[in-house]
Symmetry: C2
DNA sequence: TAAAAAAATTATCCTAGGATAAGAAATGAG
DNA sequence: CTCATTTCTTATCCTAGGATAATTTTTTTA
């Protein structure tokens, strides 16, 4: 497969939606709350995305060394404020891709665009799941599950819900009985 | 946005790569080791994907009620044996989409296809990450990290690696010093 | 509708990894 | 080169959640 570099050089349209940039190390290039439609392709150096929870604890979401992409997918799909910081860990050269412009560029295949949207949704869901697994206690994960899938609690055996949350069914039982008392 | 249903009815090409099926509850429709290019869109009922680790412990990866998609993405990108079971939890009606045929159908936009591949890779990466977070101990996660990103250990502060693995930097220190002794 | 199988609960005991704290080592800035 | 800041390590103590096992409840099947 051709590198992004080569592709950009070759493709007339692509060159229009793409910007090259050199960024010094320890620069925060994106913050939670920003509404972003940008993705960053790393030509040289090292970027990192991370988030900070209410208690101020920091969680690294992704490292992006050479030839990786990094972005806050959730935000770029839904045009909602992002949740991630993105920063350079080393002096870096990146290609900035404006996803909006990119997507507008080719609306020729309807079904493919729908497939793309589905996939983006999937990435966003998994992104949230990883964040949950890293930062939340079993109780918080359970509560979040109930909010997100209120119907499923009645349709799915508890032990499978436990196995989705990454806890044992015994622990899930503890949590539920404790919650009933309050 | 139109439902998949409507789209299929409207689109001549789409109808060729798509099969409707009714499946009884508790049927396993896919197993680890299968080489799969299929995705399942749930019209009615409830599917679940899960995996089983070496110790026989079961982890639910995803629930798919009405209007969800479910598939083992990793396998369908790389044409490698899959890692997930997929089963019906209720009597279900699904639309089976052959991803290979689907993708061959529209190779018109090169750059879009590349974008698609990138995204699929991203989903696969996140899928593995979720599986790691749910099923592995801190030590295993650390070892896996080193194997996957051998260079990064030297380029990234330890505390950021800890925050990527979902552990504290003190615990990472414990792990590392224990490993040096062996 | 009875018997068997599977799922859920509860209690006890245990361990991986968190929190806290304090010192050592490394990095950075003037 | 030196002082200050950040990172890393080590030790102690503690807690969320796992493992095990026994009992109850629900579901399945004959």
């Amino acid at each position: 497969m051709k590198s992004l570099e080569e592709l950009i050089t070759l493709n007339e349209n692509l060159r229009k939606v793409v910007i090259n940039k050199v960024i010094a190390k320890k620069t925060i290039i994106q913050r939670p709350g920003d509404i972003i439609t940008k993705g960053y392709y790393v030509k040289k150096g090292l970027l990192r995305s991370y988030f900070i929870d209410e208690k101020g604890k920091e969680y690294t979401f992704l490292f992006a060394p050479e030839d990786w992409m990094i972005s806050d997918i959730e935000s770029s799909i839904y045009n909602t404020p992002g949740t991630l910081f993105i920063e350079t860990l080393e002096d870096s050269e990146v290609v900035i891709i404006d996803r909006k412009a990119f997507q507008e560029m080719q609306s020729n295949s309807k079904s493919l665009n729908i497939e793309l949207t589905k996939l983006l949704n999937r990435v966003a869901t998994l992104q949230k799941r990883v964040i949950m697994l890293m930062s939340s206690s079993a109780i918080d994960r359970y509560n979040h599950f109930i909010e997100t899938y209120p119907q499923l609690i009645h349709r799915v055996p508890k032990k499978m819900i436990a196995s989705y949350l990454g806890i044992t069914q015994e622990t899930l039982s503890k949590i539920r009985s404790k919650q009933l008392k309050n």
